[in-house]
Symmetry: D2
Subunit: 168 residues, 4 copies
């Protein structure tokens, strides 16, 4: 009976998930977040506007945190901190186009006292299952308090992120 | 055994869905699309910027079409047409904030030879299950050919949308 | 000699203006604000994305206030109020394209205790001097306090805007 | 009489400029472009959203080209080419806020056969005349033909940009 019940639960949970916004999933320590290209993302050249990949990347970072159980509003409200982008290096390899479904892969590279480094890739899954890398991002985030002064990463956040940063 | 198998299928499908971008679902003739509020959507007043609801609404219209089996690119490529917004009336009732999950409800109101009218609501589901209506949109879309001249709705699109427009 | 000096002043002022962001100018009670179409404003259909006209309109409303001597930050800081869009009705008549220079014309239609109505047009000046109307906007703005509750228009703002609302 | 006439012309030209969108100006080989921060540029943290500086930078690059006498549409129409961002490295030093007037400084660093490198700074002029550097951008642009394949910089564009790249 047990497997049946767990299947029912899985089905219900999965179904519930499909009726919410996806927060993505983890493959090992890498968070994966699906995003769709809409008209708003494109420009008159027919491709995704270069600044808009940074929006997709920020959605993915937010959802990685949500997968781990925390949100911007609770970070601000409970810990009094927020993350601010300090630097962002973007390599644009291939363009994305209207209607395409992309994946944003996010990996924590280094966790420091008051900052962290992530690498993020925006990829497109091709019909044959292969992946084409479109944009390569290296992001440095600083932890700030309410006055936009540097602040130490709270222990709770460090614990959440620690496991992801250790490997590789 | 049969229910078990169907549950497994359901679980697998639902799971598959959760690993893609959600295209939303139908409740009767009303399409429902979940959207999350990210930093990019908000402004210095701490609420979603008024123009950005129009982006959310356009995502929802696109996903309604995708649920029905068609996409912008195939409409352009196969039927040589695209939809252009002719008018948009927005009533802003309550503000949305960072991290909130919203629903966009889309209902086709009228289907004409070369245009259609939709009503769209952006709502927030409260903890108690009640819904708060945030924005009320009335949209008129015109069907255009590649030269941005009015064009008749292709029969295939009319068939897809016809069932949704009849009721109510 | 006097005209010469006033010309010099005019030249210097005008020159100074050209080295700042333009806040536009008044033609009678109508505020006129020039805006340029950049890649960020367009979409894959090769035209300005429908939501982005609302951004241009908001820039124009902000610059009308600045022309009158007030700014968002000082309204918030000194009067404790901000304007929030309550409704926005947009008619899209003709598309704008990359590189075009547009004008946003803003006219106050009605000034009430805690709200006001404006009409705004986005137009393109053609080579022959004629104007093509692209988008027609009717906007209702509510005055809100820091808690996003309705608030009366401060006397100082009412005085600034009063002259413009007096029909013509 | 001559200086008087030239002053009148200056006044009229400057005045004309103030009634158009500013395309900025050159200080030596550095192009300077003023931009204003509007609600659309900010986010719920009360500061300019990190992706939006890339929009400001692109406006500045476009206006530098316009100052030199060329536009996107004519590059596409006459030379069959467009510039695409290949990489963008952004260092975020200080935040910008609502209502602030910023300057984007653009300098061509290297002109190659089918690409160029620019550095761009977003700065704020303080009351005392000093400048605070907010964002530091290093941009690599590739010249592409209509099929998004690499193309050589047309001779006309090379001539326009050559003088700016040589110095320093």
């Amino acid at each position: 009976m047990y497997p049946m019940i767990s299947f029912m639960k899985m089905a219900m949970n999965a179904n519930f998930e499909a009726r919410c916004c996806s927060s993505g999933w983890f493959e090992g320590t890498c968070h994966v977040f699906p995003v769709r290209v809409y008209y708003e993302d494109t420009d008159a050249a027919g491709i995704v506007y270069y600044a808009n990949y940074l929006k997709l990347a920020e959605r993915a970072r937010t959802e990685m945190m949500r997968c781990l159980g925390t949100e911007h509003q609770s970070l601000i409200g409970e810990a009094g901190i927020a993350f601010v982008v300090r630097s962002c290096n973007a390599e644009y390899l291939q363009p994305a186009r209207l209607d395409e479904e992309l994946l944003v892969r996010t990996q924590i590279r280094e966790l420091r006292g008051a900052s962290m480094r992530m690498s993020q890739n925006v990829v497109r899954q091709e019909m044959d299952g292969a992946e084409t890398k479109l944009v390569d991002l290296a992001i440095r985030l600083a932890c700030m308090n309410g006055d936009l002064k540097p602040a130490r990463l709270p222990g709770s956040v460090r614990k959440l992120l620690g496991g992801l940063a250790e490997e590789r």
